[in-house]
Symmetry: D2
Subunit: 482 residues, 4 copies
């Protein structure tokens, strides 16, 4: 039976063996077995509802599906006998439930069935990503709390710009990731519709109760147009886009950490258990994991390109090109999930070895803006203040002294606004505490943002938790058999 193709309509010849191998997707879509079984279970309950199958037949079929599930999980099924997961489930069901299995495909097509499988997978996967991202945010907030009181220079153009709190630095990524999290929620909402009823492309010829099916499979809406349902994979592109944006932000975080881990910067220490050495240079302590994540960001953004190009200029409705979507999806999902998870662990194992804010050291030239602000507060226009400080910095560099070491008289040569309180104004602590706008690096703003962040994550975790009830469950469907 395994050689019988479910699509064998007017086609006589057996497929060429190379052709059969080339068109088979089982090696990829086998990952969807649970989704396919779950979707099928709901569908047959729906078929019973409209009288296509009887109560006893339903019982038989659900029991059959249960056996198929068990056989797969016990490793008792040879996947390679089948061309795809739908054929596998249908034929195994025939084997386990008998002839009534031949009714399962009534009013359904592989064209809508695969969308069911993919949407269930997506919703599960989005929820998983959400939970991982929320954990990453918690780790960030933990670190931000822990490193209060430490400062490092913020960089622009890879040049020291202004001192900021380490916590402020970490909250920067907290914000980036929050945007990613919202995108995950949005994508969950946008892919939460029932595709059943679309059949091959024109709609099912049977009066299916789509509301019931949606309820059984926990879909929020019923899909609106059969041709759209079988021709669209927007949800996959959206999902891979979410992954891309997450990985993009991770790649920037990694880039910073890799640089901060260099001997020249030495801002951080990564625990040995998250580094590797060199096979030839024993002194190395390589941030492999961070580099790998940065590399994987290229993989995932290339996956996005694959998903987009796949659909460029593709005519309606279903075309076999779309079969390749699952490779793209599964790869992007795997790389992204792994990266978020391991990055969180690395982050938990990073220590910052930077200045204490209250150490009374001057923050090098990164206080230059504060020096200019000082002059402005004394009455100078900003543009002039900027020029004056610029000249003074140049003087310092040429004479290899720091801003705080210039005698007041020397300063007064540049501007009469300088006075005794200048040195205090450019102390690290002042440079930081002066940035008191809502988004600034002052301790107060940062504290407020940490506690806001904690509240936000608490709320979002609850929302994520609520999504669990929108994931269908095979065992729950099984219980409908009586």
């Amino acid at each position: 039976m395994e050689k019988e193709r479910i699509w064998k309509g007017r086609i006589d010849a057996d497929p060429d063996s190379l052709a059969a191998k080339f068109t088979s997707s089982i090696i990829i879509d086998r990952q969807l077995y649970m989704q396919d079984i779950t979707g099928t279970a709901a569908y047959i309950i729906g078929l019973k509802d409209i009288g296509i199958i009887s109560g006893p037949e339903l019982k038989k079929l659900l029991r059959g599906l249960e056996k198929v599930r068990n056989a797969i999980e016990a490793g008792k099924i040879d996947f390679n006998k089948y061309e795809d997961i739908h054929s596998l489930v249908e034929y195994e069901l025939l084997a386990h439930a008998g002839d009534v299995g031949a009714k399962v495909h009534t009013g359904r097509s592989r064209n809508d069935q695969i969308v069911v499988d993919e949407l269930i997978f997506l919703k599960e996967s989005l929820l998983k990503a959400l939970n991982l991202m929320l954990k990453l945010e918690e780790a960030l907030l933990d670190k931000a709390l822990k490193f209060q009181g430490l400062a490092l220079p913020a960089y622009t153009h890879m040049q020291q710009a202004q001192p900021v709190l380490v916590s402020h630095y970490l909250l920067c990524f907290f914000e980036k990731f929050i945007r990613n999290i919202y995108k995950l929620f949005d994508t969950f909402e946008s892919c939460d519709y029932l595709p059943l009823g679309a059949a091959a492309c024109a709609g099912s010829g049977y009066g299916l109760n789509t509301d019931l099916l949606a309820r059984l499979l926990k879909f929020k809406r019923v899909g609106a147009n059969s041709m759209d349902i079988v021709s669209s994979r927007d949800y996959i592109i959206d999902y891979v886009y979410c992954c891309t944006m997450i990985m993009l932000n991770l790649s920037r975080f990694c880039e910073d950490m890799i640089i901060y881990n260099s001997g020249e910067f030495s801002y951080i220490n990564i625990d040995d258990s998250f580094c590797t050495g060199s096979s030839i240079m024993p002194q190395k302590k390589n941030p492999d994991i961070l580099e790998l994540i940065r590399g994987k960001s290229a993989l995932v953004s290339g996956s996005l390109m694959q998903a987009i190009t796949l659909f460029k200029g593709l005519p309606l409705t279903y075309n076999s090109d779309m079969q390749e979507d699952k490779k793209i999806l599964f790869n992007a999902a795997l790389e992204t999930m792994q990266s978020i998870e391991i990055f969180t662990k690395v982050l938990e194992n990073i220590e910052f070895k930077v200045l204490r804010v209250n150490e009374d050291k001057a923050p090098g030239f990164t206080c230059a803006t504060d020096a200019a602000d000082y002059l402005v507060r004394k009455g100078e226009s900003f543009r002039n203040a900027h020029h004056i400080i610029g000249r003074i910095v140049k003087y310092c560099i040429e004479n290899e002294i720091s801003l705080e070491d210039i005698p007041l008289e020397k300063l007064k040569e540049h501007s009469s606004f300088f006075s005794d309180d200048f040195k205090d104004a450019i102390r690290l602590e002042k440079c930081i505490s002066s940035k008191k706008t809502v988004c600034g690096t002052s301790e107060k703003s940062v504290e407020k943002n940490i506690s806001r962040g904690i509240g936000k994550i608490k709320k979002l975790s609850q929302t994520a938790n609520d999504l669990k009830s929108r994931i269908p469950d095979f065992d729950e469907l099984l219980s409908k058999k009586n």
Copy 2:
């Protein structure tokens, strides 16, 4: 004065002329002049609020800005004298308002200023895209109403699959575009935050009233982290992603229309005023516009790749790489807007030359599924019914007859379930009316979906209209000068 660079800090040498040309962005960011002037107007009102400038100075500066705006719009300003739009506005303001202009940059940096400009541009552009997309949807609904009663085959694998209503076909794209519209709304919300107060990267050293600034510039929220504000361009990537998804769906619509416009398909007629001919082959009637849109979908998706790659592995916070973001943004915006607009016009000038549903013709082999459904309704299992009809179709092809022309006896050789009512069951009208699931192609479902669509567009148009109040207006700000 024009040779003076606003960033001239400790740098002595004049820039090399080739370097100056290479680093200049004025040829691109001049498009942002209105946004820069508007952002500056709000900012100086904010500076007055915290006492950095006086009431009379504010008046002078606002009048100065007005003059700068007028000078630009009268073509009286030589853009090429300046390296970027911020320098232009600042120096022209100095020229038009006098020395007080030197205060404008107090507590602000080009790093947050450019974000203000871009976010205002984005919100305007998103609103424009929304309105264009809503018009396209209206055109689709108009056509769907107009073409009720016409049918064409739906295709899978570029093979005739099942008959559908032309209206159903059009609603398929209505659904795709609705998703694009929601994405535009989501992107609007996600990029609606005030960047001012971030300054260079650590936050402003002045106690700016960011709530006031947000109100003046119509931003819904105040940005939360200064480093994030100056380092992130997620909003641009999101915007270009919206463009990509719109163009992707347009590319598929165009592909179909190009094929339907071929002599072999001949399903549509495009009005001459939207076609071109050939310089050498006088018989041609080329769907250039549709081809160009399909081509532009490649440009826009490549732009997305540019935006993403630009940020891959980029360290915090601001880097000059980001200066290139505007080219990407403006190109993607231009190609997309033009494409939506012209596509809508082409669509309005397309006629469908296909079958009337009630013409009583049989729909070729596209009724095969209905033939199988017929057997199922008579008691056959679907899988068997599929095989039986498959064999009959093969017989028809070999004998060059159609399904409706096979005598009943012949049919009965294949299955005893066949009877007199078979021919009626596979009439075009029946094939269509039988697909009565919510998403199916039956007249009733389609009618319902059209009127739902009309309601939805009405509501979304209202929502889009409400967004106008979230776009800042320079003239309104000018009125604050007293």
Copy 3:
């Protein structure tokens, strides 16, 4: 022993288990086992040459490598115990050859070793691709010979333009693929250099005889700069670029064939054994394979993007990001090889069902250019002739007649140049035979191009065959042990 990491320098802690899994590449690079063993065999011969190991040690080590190879091929080695293929070979060699195995890494690093493995793989893979492409070209020439005498319309803008020979159509792709073939040869040449001697990045501290190593491993050149050798993967990007260009041309060929296979065009017949049917629509005969190849072209071009993005802005020299290169390479190679191979088989099973050239039918309006050329030959300027024929075609369309059916008097109303010989001038046979430029579709030009093509493929096949001698062979190296 398996838990011992070869890079364990100053790192104390055991790697975190999640980290170990994340950084491991064995699941991917196990494919390179034969290349790693071969590279190692040559290297130890080189070590003997400079006296690092003795003759008996060499013997022991080569025998050890042989055993490792055999153990792997007998499935006796648990790959998952190792983090990468280099560790596997080194530790298994230690196990099979004893302590002398600890000398194998002298003056070599995983940084140059992986390049050896990849370059050998690439050269093998390029040769395989060359042979597949040459077979495809042969199949094209066979078909071109077979289908002489058949004509179909050439299309521009998906509109019938001018009649061409089917052979001419096929030769179009012959030319495209020839360019791909040249690119494969070029890439082979550019990646044919010995990386050994580069060690970690600064060059080997031992006086390796790189000429000998190059000879043993069949590399044409010796790499010129150690930092370049360990930091560059240009060869992988070049390879994936070759794949992309091949797939791009295949995607266009597939697109045409998919359209020609539609019921509306019906130009070709694909043998049943290379089509599939529908699970719900028994009349379908779907060109799945062609659609899949078109889809895979998106995968491969996305892989190119992955490879490029991976290296964007990557600092020198080796970074772990580069570990991801193999996934990209292997995926692109697999999809491309499979696609070329199966496409060749499909092509061999396609029949053209189009017009015979000498059937004396007129080629519809596709003879319009010839009609204009007729007028030009009679004395009209081309631009005027184009306008005259344009008006006549319009007249024909409105009156539903063909060009050949217009009475001469009617034609003369449009131009006095028309005379009796017009009908003959626009016969299909004439339209084709008149295109006698070297690149034109006349029988003569096409025949000449077919025989030129046959000669070219013969020569290129010989060149490809010669490349075999530039692929290293482990068994040949083994023979050096005495």
Copy 4:
């Protein structure tokens, strides 16, 4: 006349004004005016050769073309009146040369004409790129010569690995760029074929002397298949690929220089005239140009994606999608040329502020490999030596001492192989001189590679110079008028 479209065949209606604007390409392809005029000049010489135009007509037309060229260059032509450059040249020629201009399009189509224009542009542009790249290589060799005797650490994983000569570092990029240069040459060869004779797609109906045309236009070969000629843009993709690979290597060079320019690394000093400051932070000295180039690498690789996606699944032969190819081409060309040129200037203005090789300082832990090599030379196996040195490095780090400061007795605790000569073996000078493989960083190898490089560039410059004779010249063609 300007409203007359040259393609006006059977199309009646005037184009819709929005449609006309949308389909017009003049704003882009006006850059090709000289190529179009040159191609046309050669073509009419070819038409005279086969008797389509007379000697006096040829004279008139060439004079007309000369006038058109002059009018364009004097700014006397309103480009916006025309839809594309071909129409412009044709109609302006009609205006300047009279009715005989109507013959110019005989046997030619815009489909082959645009390929002529593009191929001429490409050859010119490739030659320009070659010269710029050769200059960059010369600058690199100059710097390599100049900085002999300076050393810096080579990095792997952004960790100091081993000391190398600055010259060696620079030669690394020399090698990368050499590969780019070869690719430019290869692309020149592959795009050097005459497209004329292909006409619309089937070949010209006139017996054109294509050998003559190729000679006149300096094309090496005559294109082989008309359908391929008008449907392929492989040459554009190849060109943009060249640009991408150049930019990719530049992006890595820039990344290194940006990091080396940081205060933490401080390896280089970029001349002030190639840096910019900050508008708010006066101490900054930003490597804008390098960042911009890194950013532009994202633009160019996105352009490659655009070019590839444009052709994915595009049916034969010409489609208007292809009109967008010029935007892609011109953008990629512009960004790349500018980047190479300015980068060369920046490079010339960079000083290295690193260690002198003979300063007798120890190179920190970057001598660790040499320390291990020391033990191997004394008789230890490499793997053991690696472990021993690893432990010693760890000891040094914990005790904050350097390798050279450990007393011999302490060393002997780790291995009895240590002796008096150890300290000398790990001096910077020794670490460098020991890497004497051909590709290693020893002074000798580097010197040899510099002089080899000088020879190579000399030869390649000659080859590039020879290509000038393969660029057509309008004035030379004009001289044929008598």
